[in-house]
Symmetry: C2
């Protein structure tokens, strides 16, 4: 449960940045020239989230050693399916012994049989209608994590200095993933003003977060360099919802009209635990225009990434997937993947997992997914019941591992003499939650949220007893604040 500075950060930006800052390696903190190192290496480190330094400074919970330590609800992981996964992995590892061909160099894009199994799994997971066609495995690359394949996709699509549009709030480690080596500039897409939603009410409605063509146009015009990519998180991290099909379709249409590449990051596509209200439809389905050429007919501007780190809670195995039907980037994607290949041993293991059947003949992954979703739903319900009880505004969570909570009513009063007031007010509330109530959430401004005082709760990040304790502590916090 310890949260060292080694762990991949759940979000990667400093609270002290304003939400409209455009980020690039070239514009971040200037580096001391006394270091015997490159400035780009130093700048990459500077892209990592500074609020984590606060998190690291606190003692984290341990039932015996630190019963008053802070509970980790900020790392986007699921601890709900540990026993199922560990037993399955050990069973598969016994069944799938290592054969001689596995020790040698593998195809850089991944073992063909593994890519085939992955394509089948994806189609099943997103319930792709047969009319859309089938994934073309030639366009599918497996690499060491979603960040690795996403980075290579960006290398293949955009030049250094080009802008990438990302609707706010967003998973802030995107800034490290896209800026540190690929050299893109992140242009946040602020949605509130262009959404048409009434944001004057106490509760920001979910529609306010939808990226409309108007919001995309504004960000496109505002970008410091040509915008080449729009990156969507779908289902959404940190919002815990899916954009309705018409919103994603508007993004697809806008991208095709503008000649901008859409990357749909669907890393939570298997964690849609309230499918009816979520109304999640994959961009692969929405963008499909089947032809007799095979594949889904996505055209050159629609791309897709995924990994096993969230739906499968297997972040330690580093298994990411990128998919594209753009013939011009196939070779670059496959070749650049040479730098982030997955161990053949793990390719075999995961292929076994994706093709395993239950006793009733159904896919093991389907049964696993259903169980995980049921556990996520139970956790999400418990958290939201508490929030309802205290009238705390939050988005109705339907997907992913998160609930997006508006705690802005608990912010300290603004000090108008301070131009950076919102960041300081949010940090103050964040530190109070951590230090006084032992609750580690992800602060919203670190994810470029448009307003201060919003927090992401990863309700799957703790084991059962810790989650029970977290709810008790949150109740204590809310009671004290409301009284």
């Amino acid at each position: 449960m310890s949260y060292s500075n080694e762990i991949r950060p759940p979000s990667a930006s400093a609270l002290s940045f304003s939400t409209t800052t455009t980020l690039s390696a070239a514009t971040t903190t200037s580096i001391s020239s006394s270091t015997i190192a490159s400035s780009r290496g130093q700048q990459a480190v500077a892209l990592l989230p500074s609020y984590l330094a606060d998190a690291r400074a606190v003692e984290t919970y341990h039932p015996v050693d630190a019963p008053n330590g802070a509970l980790q609800l900020g790392v986007a992981e699921s601890k709900l399916v540990e026993e199922r996964l560990v037993s399955k992995i050990n069973q598969l590892a016994q069944q799938h012994t290592f054969s001689a061909d596995c020790i040698y160099y593998q195809p850089t894009a991944g073992r063909p049989s593994f890519r085939q199994a992955m394509a089948g799994y994806i189609q099943d997971m997103i319930q792709l209608p047969a009319a859309c066609g089938s994934l073309n495995t030639e366009g599918l690359v497996v690499g060491a994590g979603c960040n690795a394949v996403l980075e290579n996709l960006c290398f293949a699509l955009a030049e250094p200095g080009d802008s990438v549009l990302i609707p706010t709030p967003y998973y802030a480690a995107f800034e490290f993933d896209l800026v540190a080596r690929a050299g893109l500039q992140v242009q946040p897409v602020n949605t509130f003003e262009h959404s048409g939603a009434d944001i004057s009410t106490a509760t920001v409605p979910v529609e306010a977060y939808y990226p409309t063509a108007a919001a995309l146009d504004a960000a496109y015009d505002q970008a410091p360099a040509k915008a080449k990519i729009l990156l969507l998180s779908h289902p959404h991290n940190p919002l815990g919802i899916a954009f309705p099909p018409h919103v994603v379709q508007e993004c697809i249409d806008w991208c095709r009209a503008k000649g901008v590449h859409l990357i749909s990051d669907e890393i939570y596509a298997g964690s849609v635990y309230r499918p009816d209200s979520a109304n999640f439809v994959s961009a692969l389905e929405l963008a499909s225009q089947p032809t007799n050429k095979g594949g889904l007919g996505l055209g050159p501007y629609v791309h897709w990434v995924y990994s096993l780190s969230k739906d499968f809670a297997l972040s330690g195995l580093r298994v990411g997937v990128a998919y594209s039907e753009n013939p011009d980037i196939r070779m670059p994607m496959q070749k650049l993947n040479d730098m982030c290949q997955i161990s053949s041993q793990t390719q075999i293991l995961v292929e076994g997992m994706m093709t395993a059947k239950e006793d009733d003949g159904k896919q093991w992954t389907s049964a696993f997914r259903a169980e995980h979703q049921a556990r996520l739903r139970a956790r999400g319900d418990r958290l939201q019941s508490l929030l309802h009880e205290f009238d705390i505004p939050h988005l109705p969570a339907t997907c992913g591992l998160f609930c997006w909570m508006d705690l802005s009513q608990f912010l300290p009063l603004a000090d108008n003499s301070n131009s950076n007031a919102n960041a300081e007010r949010e940090r103050s509330l964040y530190l109070s939650l951590v230090n006084e109530y032992g609750l580690l959430f992800t602060p919203g401004l670190s994810m470029r949220n448009e307003r201060p005082g919003f927090f992401r709760c990863v309700f799957s990040a703790a084991h059962d007893d810790e989650f029970d304790l977290a709810l008790m502590r949150l109740r204590t916090f809310l009671t004290s604040q409301k009284s």
Copy 2:
């Protein structure tokens, strides 16, 4: 035995390049603007070796399906220890079951216990004297292959556009690894003229290949941008020898005086199969200046990379290592490694391999290494006996998987009207070896050799029966040419 275009290339440059060309992504072939993709992605692909297209066009050997197909002696792999590795891996996989902590995010630099085991293995392999101190595991990063950790080391040490010096001939995939994403420019270091060796004789003496301070000075002055890195292959690919300690020491001293970073790529350090004549001493030993601060006292300018792909023939597992004691690059190296982490499953497996003991209490890796070296020695001896028999100049191979053969006497006559004559003559001989004699070697100009007609034979790349056949075919070739 099939050699698809998917396999990591053994060398990565086009025969049509001259040996003095300076390479960078910015200066390679211009790309059609009609592609819906980035130019840098297209240029990355253009860095891959064009001579492989010739290799791909031929049928490769199969005992039943293609008995006249070409034998693959060009991919730098060892097939000599397959049965030992596969049985050990399967044994270890049964012993080391997957525990719950392995499924989640790991420290980006690698699991601490694995890095500790790797440090111990390295010290044992290079026989590091106790007086040098011990590796500091904080400076050790494990990532998905030597190329991946080498690239990140370069990101941390140099800016885009900086030059990297590499003595010729060199493993030509360095051009892909260092140029494609890190954006360095490769400046070959030609050694013949500055070596002081007599190169007018029929046989180029081994001393002609030693990088002297004079050769480094010349390359440094010639580099198109500031040279920030000197990359040494030690033991040497493709030469199959180790530079004597005084040569490596001269490089270390030159680098420290110039403020240039030395990276010693010692990926073949465990394949020194004739230790007495090789006289291999690791740069970690030569650069060591122990202090009471811990580590080896390498200072900020000496760095080291390694992997399990060669000595262990485990290229499929993608296990690379970088080591540095420069405090300014520790964080960048660890954080950038987030993009190329090794599966926790494979970290556990390899940690088990590195700590396994034989029945006699000795390290399993030591016994394995001794057996691999004996087999390499036997292969190398058989090849060199044949070369001796026909008086074919070659370097006396002592390390690695290679013999560096001078077949220039068999080049077609020069056509002085053609400015690119040498490249065409070598390609002609290469194609003749492939098509008429069924022998796939790596052509020397693809590795930036200073003279045409040299070839690298990877004598470990074939199984026993194929190697027998390769020697028969080579005898046929030599007989026909000499008669």
